[in-house]
Each structure stands twice: as C-alpha cells, then as structure tokens.
C-alpha cells in the first residue's frame, strides 16, 4: 500500500492539498478547517522532504500523470532544483498555519476563516504544482490557481485596512498581465515546436534554433515571470500587497510566491532555452544584471525611508530579489548556486521577519515605526527575533544571510568582476541602515505612556522562532543548503542530458503507474 503510494509522491503532494481545499470550505467549522489544512500541509511537507532526500544525489524522478507517457501526457519531473523549491515552499506552508490560526483571530471575522484556509491551501497547491510539474502549460495552470488564491488572500486584509482591496486589485491586474505574457510565450513555443513538455521543448528548440519566434517567446516569458517575481521595475504591486495583506499571508507570500516565480524563470532559462542562444545571454548581461544592481540599491534606499516596518521589509524583498537575479545573471554555475542558496536563505529570513512583525500587529495593532518605540522591553522575544532576522538581512556571520553573501561575492570574484563584489557589499551596508532604524526604535527609544503590550502568544512565537532557528542553523552549518543548491544548479544546467527522447517512449508503458527513473 505504502510503496504503491510512494510511487505517486510527486503528484500526491499537490492532490492532497487540492482535495483538502474545498473540504475546508464545505465543513464550515473553522477549527475543523484549520485541522484539515494543517494535516494536508504537513503531508505535503513530509512528501517534499522525502522527495528532496531521494534526488539530492543527482537522480531524477519522472512521473507520468494518468499513465500517459510524455511528451503527450503531463509529466511531473522532480530533480534537485525543484525538490529544493518544493521543500522550502512546503516548509513555510506548514509553519505559517499554526501562526495564522492565532493571528487572523484579530484580523477578520471568524465566519470567513474557513474560506481563508481554502484560499491558503489553493495557493499552496498552485505553488507546489508550479514547482513540481515538467509541463510548460501546466505551469501556467498552477500559476493561475496560486495567483487567484493570492489575490483573495491579500484582500482578506481589508477588515484591518481598506487599502488591502486596492492593493489586491492592483496585484490582480499586474499579476494577470504577467501570467498573460507568460502564456503568450508558451504559445509561441508551442507554435514552433508542437510540444509542451519542458524536456522535450529543450530538445526541439535546439533544432529550431535562434529564430525570431523563439526570441520573442523568451522575452515574453522573462517579462511575465519578471512581473511575478517582482523584478525591478516590475515590482510595483509588491509593497502594497505585502503591507496590507494579513500578517500570516505577508510572511507566506514573501517566503514562497516570488521564489517559485524565480524558479520558473530559472527552469526556462537554463533548461528549456539551454541551446546556444545569444539573445538570452545578451538579455541577462545587459538587461537583467543592470536591473538587479539597480534593484539592490534603489529598493534598499527606498526601504530606508519607509515609516512602516512591513513596507520597509517589502522594499527590502525587492532588493533581495535583485541579489538572486544578480547571481543568476552571472551565467556561471557558481552564480546560479549563489542565486539558489539565496532563494532559500532569504525565504527563511524574510519569513521570520514578517512573522515577527505580525506579532507586533497582533499585540499593538500597528507596524508603524513610531508605534514600536521601546517595544524591546515589553515584547523581548518578538523583538529579538526581528533583530536576528535583521542581522541575517545584513549578512552578519552565523546567519544564513552571510552564507548567501559569501557565495555571491565568491561567484562574482570568480568571474573577475571585483566591482560587482563591491556593489554587493555596498548595498548590504544600506541594509545596516534600515535594519538599525528598527533596532534603535525598538530598544533605545522610551516606550510611550499607557501602551498595554505584552508578549505575543506562544502559537505565534513558536513558528517565528522555528524560522529564526532555521536562519541561524543554516548559517552555522550550511552543508545541507549548499549541497542542495549546488545540486540544483547542476540539475538546471544538465537537464537535457536526462531528457527522454520521444523515440524511446513506447505506448506499452503500464497505465496508472508512476515510473521512477
């Protein structure tokens, strides 16, 4: 029984969540809904951990949906790259739930909680689906599932602040444009190759070569995903969406949504368009890299001037996406490794930070800097978590941020560009400024009279500290993350070698069984 189930693991983590989502709404009891959601998310996490463990040695799991052999059927293909992303997303997904249960109590009416969990599970389904699938159109489908759920989740913040509605609407418009661009790109690819399977696309695109259609397709996909992952200057939806969404959702989105979009971009860049394709190199060198560098500075400087901690951290996220893109734009394996490890490290760090800010919102109803004066005395644990996360953003040793910086600087020095290394450290010094604005206010300003704040409840502190602990642990012992990241980079680079040529696929493949390569 178990062994026959384990063969279906690549799809199971998506299916379990997809089935659990409507159940949450149908039962109508928020406590039951939470339990269902938590069990489903936990199952997804267990499965993705297992998947990561089984592909870390460089092997690939190919699963044929419904027994239809690729490239005709939909293939789920798990290698080190997406197993790593699945692991991050499901980890955050399961950690945020206990926190959300507490934090949404004070954010909107209990009657809508069941719908909240439904949306949450749908969003998680979409994100995991995007990462797991090996089919280009399937990516689009899951992307839309997660995006639509996200718009609703952001709008849940409207009870606390009406601006959440415009933020969600804004995000809806921008996100839809992004998704449309992406699907147009896929359409072009389908037009010239007649296939939607990514591995098959890679082989056939190499035959088609560098034509105007493939160029246009690439650029559409880049811009579409650029919108989704908040690549500067396509990030305009992000600060508002993160500021006004419910606390738990901000943390969840910051740690997962942009990361999954980045993964899709990497998958298309390095796996699908991996043939000798000058437009891609030129785009990364002359468009993506400069934009990444601008993001690192512009968004960091914008963060310095924010008056609201949530918003400050949102701008910092745009800057951090810049770091990831910078690593990728170096177009070396070391750079890609740096980008991927930062993807994980930043997810953990920003997750912890937004969860900590959520504790403030829960207790004092505000995340404005002015309202956080002297909060270090009354909410010491939360403030300490915020400080630890802040140190990681700066890149202080013994935090994950340092590991990221180390890899990034090393990758840029290996390509011989000392100036890029200089810019990386220069922009992380701006992080010192915005992090220390929070630290000074929280610890060194006197608390205002009459504020009744006490430490956040344990159910919120524990998930926060789980992420803080992760951001310290993986900063002290980065063996798992660095080996996973370098395997992921290898997997992205060498995916065609493992592509299954259409000739070898015989219709005699036994139906309804996953094949493990």
């Amino acid at each position: 029984m178990l062994s026959s189930l384990s063969a279906h693991m690549p799809v199971l983590q998506v299916i379990v969540l997809l089935i659990a989502a409507p159940l949450c709404a149908l039962f109508g009891n928020r406590h039951l809904a939470w339990t269902i959601a938590f069990i489903a998310a936990l199952a997804a996490f267990v499965i993705s951990t297992f998947l990561l463990g089984s592909v870390l040695d460089g092997s690939v799991i190919s699963y044929h949906l419904g027994g239809w052999a690729p490239p005709w059927g939909i293939e789920y293909r798990i290698d080190a790259a997406n197993a790593f992303v699945l692991f991050i997303v499901s980890l955050i997904g399961v950690l945020v739930l206990p926190y959300a249960r507490q934090s949404i109590e004070r954010e909107f009416e209990a009657s809508t909680h069941t719908y909240f969990y439904t949306c949450y599970l749908l969003c998680l389904t979409g994100l995991l689906g995007v990462a797991a699938t090996g089919d280009a159109f399937n990516v689009f489908v899951f992307l839309e599932i997660s995006s639509l759920a996200t718009y609703a989740l952001v709008a849940f913040g409207a009870k606390r602040d009406k601006r959440a509605l415009t933020a969600a609407y804004n995000y809806l418009i921008m996100g839809t444009i992004g998704a449309t661009f992406f699907v147009i790109g896929i359409g072009f690819l389908y037009m010239v190759t007649g296939t939607l399977n990514m591995a098959d696309l890679a082989v056939r695109l190499a035959e088609v070569g560098d034509t105007r259609v493939t160029r246009v397709a690439f650029v559409f996909i880049l811009v579409g995903m650029g919108l989704k992952l908040a690549m500067f200057p396509l990030h305009l939806w992000l600060p508002n969406a993160y500021s006004y969404a419910p606390s738990a959702i901000t943390a969840f989105l910051a740690a997962t949504a942009t990361k999954v979009a980045l993964y899709v971009l990497l998958r298309f860049t390095f796996t699908v368009f991996q043939f000798d394709f000058p437009v891609q190199e030129l785009t990364f060198e002359y468009v993506v890299m400069p934009l990444a560098l601008v993001a690192m500075f512009a968004a960091s400087i914008a963060a310095v001037f924010q008056k609201d901690v949530k918003r400050l951290l949102a701008y910092s996220s745009v800057a951090q996406v810049g770091y990831m893109l910078l690593g990728v734009a170096l177009l070396t394996e070391a750079g890609l490794t740096a980008g991927i490890i930062h993807l994980f490290n930043h997810a953990v760090t920003k997750g912890a930070l937004f969860l900590a800010v959520g504790c403030f919102v829960y207790q004092i109803g505000s995340s404005r800097l002015g309202d956080l004066k002297g909060i270090g005395k009354t909410m010491p644990w939360t403030t300490a978590a915020l400080t630890a996360g802040g140190l990681s953003l700066i890149g202080v040793p013994l935090t994950v941020g340092f590991i990221s910086k180390w890899y990034l600087i090393q990758a840029s020095l290996e390509t011989g560009s000392l100036w890029i290394a200089g810019l990386i450290v220069a922009s992380s010094l701006i992080a010192v400024v915005y992090v220390w604005r929070i630290v000074e206010v929280a610890y060194l300003e006197p608390a205002p009279e009459g504020r009744k704040a006490k430490e956040a409840p344990l159910s919120m502190i524990l998930p926060t500290y789980a992420l803080v602990a992760a951001s310290l642990y993986f900063g002290i012992n980065s063996e798992l993350t660095s080996s996973a990241a370098s395997q992921a980079a290898k997997a992205l680079y060498s995916a065609t070698d493992l592509a299954v040529p259409p000739m070898q696929l015989t219709p005699s493949d036994p139906p309804s069984e996953g094949a493990v390569q």
Binding site: L398, Q410, A421, V425, A426, S428, L429, V432, Y443, G475
Partner: protein
Amino acid sequence: MSPELAITLTILLPAAATLLLAVLDKRPNLREAVSLLTAGALFVIVLGLLQTVLDGAQPTAHWFDVLPGLSLAFEIEPLGMLFGVVAAGLWIVTALYSIGYMRGNNETNQTRFYICFAIAISAAMGIAFAANMFTLFIFYEVLTLSTYPLVAHKETDVARKGARTYLGILITTSIGFQLVAIVWTWVVAGTLDFEQGGILADKIDPTLLPFLLALYAFGIGKAALMPFHRWLPAAMVAPTPVSALLHAVAVVKAGVFTMLKVGVYIFGIDLLATTGAADWLMWVAAFSILAASIVAMTKDNLKARLAYSTISQLSYITLGMALATSLGVMGGAMHIAMHAMGKITLFMCAGAIYVATHKTEISDMDGLGRLMPFTYGAFFIGALSIIGLPPLGGAWSKWYLMLGAADAGQIIMMGVFMVSSLLNIAYLLPVVARGFFMGNTGPLAYSVGAAAVPSKGIQEAPLWCVVPPCLTAIGCLLLFFYAGDIYTLIEPVAFPEGTSQP
C-alpha cells in the same frame, strides 16, 4: 584537561556564563560573583594553554564546517596566545573595577552590561585562537555586535549617536572591505588557514597585492587606521570599564592583532618585504600616529584625549607590521601587551576620577592629584609606560619597533616614533602636572553618593575603583622585567627558522 577542550572552554565558558548572569538579574551580589568567578576560571584555563604553547606545542580544536572547506577551527600560535593572555588577564581586573564603577554611578541595566561584556570576551578569545581568517572574521563580527549595546548603554541621544557611529564604521569597513578581501583570498589561494610564511606567495599578481592589503588594512576597522578611526572617540560615551577593557584592550587589540595575523600568516613578512606591498601602509600608519597625537593634545575631555592616544598607539603596531621586518613584528606584538597594560590603567584612573568627582574635562581637574594620590600615581606610571620610559614595559616595545625601523632602513619612521614619544609627553603629563601642582579654584564639590565631604585630606574613589588601576600600574612595572618572556613566546613567529637573530 586536553588542550582541545581547553580551547573550546575559553570560548564557551564566558558565553555560558551569560545564562547565569541573566538568571541572577535581581541578585547583584551573586551576579557579580559569577562574573568574577568566570573571569578567574578563564584566566586559569588560558594560563594552562600558555604553558602548553611555551612547551612548543600548537594546540588545535576543530568545531565543524560552516561552508564546504571553511571550518570553525582554532589553533593557538604565539601571537594569539599573547593576545589571549592579555585579554583574559585584564578581564579579571576590569571585572573588579566594573563592580566599583557601576555601583558607584548607580548605572541602569547592569545585567545587560555584564552579559554583553562576557560575550565580548568570548569573542575576543575566538579571535585570539582562530585557526583561519574565516573563523577570525566570524568572531570579529560577534565582537562588534556584542559591544554595540555597551556603547549605547546610557540610552541617551548622545549615546545613541555615538553607538551609531561605532557600529556604522565597524560594520561598513568589515563587510565593505574585509569580507571582500577574505573572499578574494579564498578564491585565489584556495585556503584561509593561517600558515607561517603566508598563503599568497605565487598565487596572485604582485601588482594587486597592495590593493588586497588595502582592503584588509582599512577593512580591519578595529585597528582604527585613519580615516576610519572616528568610531573610537565615539565609543567613549560608554561606561568607563567598557572604554578600559574593550576600547583600550580587547576590541582595538583585536584589530591590530588581526592586522598582525594578516601580515604574518596571510601575506607573509617575506612577501611583503620583497614586493614592497606594505610600503604605502607604513606612511598611512605614520600619518595616523602623528595626526592622532596632535588631535589628542587639543582634547580637553580626558577620555577623548585617551581615545586619540589609543588611535595613535594602535598605528604603532600597524606600522610594525608594515615595516615587514622580524623586529618590527616583534615590536608590534610586544606593544599589544605593553600598551594594553598602560592604557587600561589610564582609563581606569579616568573612570575613578569620574566616579569620585563627576568631572570629565581636564581643565576642571586642577589639584585633584593631591586629593586622589593613588589614582594619580597610577595614572602617572601608566602615562610613563605609554611614553616609553624605562623601567616600564612600554620602553621595550618602542625599542623593538625602533630597531625594526632601523633594520628596514626607514630612518624617517624612526623619526616618527621619536616625535610621537615627545607628543605623548605633551598630552599625557600635563594631566598629572595639573593634578599635583596646580591649585584648585573655589571649593571642590566632591561627593560619594549623596554625602558631600569637605575638600581636605585624601578622598579617593571607592576601593574597587582604585585598587585595579594600581594593580595594572604595578603590572606596567613588572612587564619591564618580564619582557624577555614575551620575547621568547613570540620568537618562533618573528624569527622562523632560517632568519638571523640580532
């Protein structure tokens, strides 16, 4: 106890003590007892290690790998041993002094103070015993962060501003320059281990060496090389025990110690000498020495004057490294110990004066020496040691630094040392002279606690504030006679086999 365990304990013991200190928040007597006991135990362990090192061994400890190939590891070599002994030894004195000072001034947040202090010492031990640049950098940053709350201790606007400068400069230089230098070294050399003779020879284009050295020299902001020295005067808003131990001993010495390590074990003295990569650094250090001394003369605030004096004296050590001769390294290493003992005396005296009279400006201190003879006597001895007069420890380090300059054929640098000594006299001795010989104008508002005492007879600060500086003053004297032991300790580093000894 095995040396490996001993090394681990030197770092973990003060760190573990912080938990006890936190628990004992409401019981000050017990808390201070824990602080003292930890300091004592640490010193005993360090002395045990010193014996091992003197026997010729180089104990190591390997914790774990942080990144593939980059580990948190420790190896005790003579330079680190010297720094370790100095920092651990002076911690005991400062722990005693802190009790008198913090209670005498009724400071707030004393528990936080003791906790941060213990973490800082733990970090200093990590720096002293680091086996590679990576480990050293990690503890370097821990030291920066753990001392921030100490500088911001008073939580006033001035303290906050000073602490901001402090953290701003130290973080900017360490992440902005030092981290880049370290990764660069790692990329070209493939290792960051400290090795006798350096790891960079033949690994990097010699024309790039001065540039890499610049990233290190300015990246080690704790060495307070101009123009990145502003943090040190800014840190003077901290309570005096902090200024005494951290900003005269642990933090700043961690800086110049790192400088020496980089010069000796990353670049290698031979490489620096043959390529001349450190020539420019010599001039920058010489400028720092003279400029800081001149600024010191203009300062009326006693602690500010001492801070600029420290900036000047730190550059002695940087200059010793930049001379790229064995004798220069010897002089630099000795100066770590000699200056530490002298300067901590001066700071503790300044603190004692503050506790007793709440005076900070030198011009207000006329005649105080007659009231506080022990404090002023200790100050006088410390000042003479900084100036470099026998029979005090400071004489020896200046002697070897001068020899190093002569050995390198740098007559101008010898001149710099001499002029600087004269400047030392000009800014340190007037403090003593005013105290003993100038009359005070008007009645002296002298008080301990709330009770005002008429101004006659001996009126020292509380006992715990006076005894420690007297102890270190005696230490300055003893160092003159025991300098030979330091020489023997450092000898294998400064004169590796094959080099001729004078």
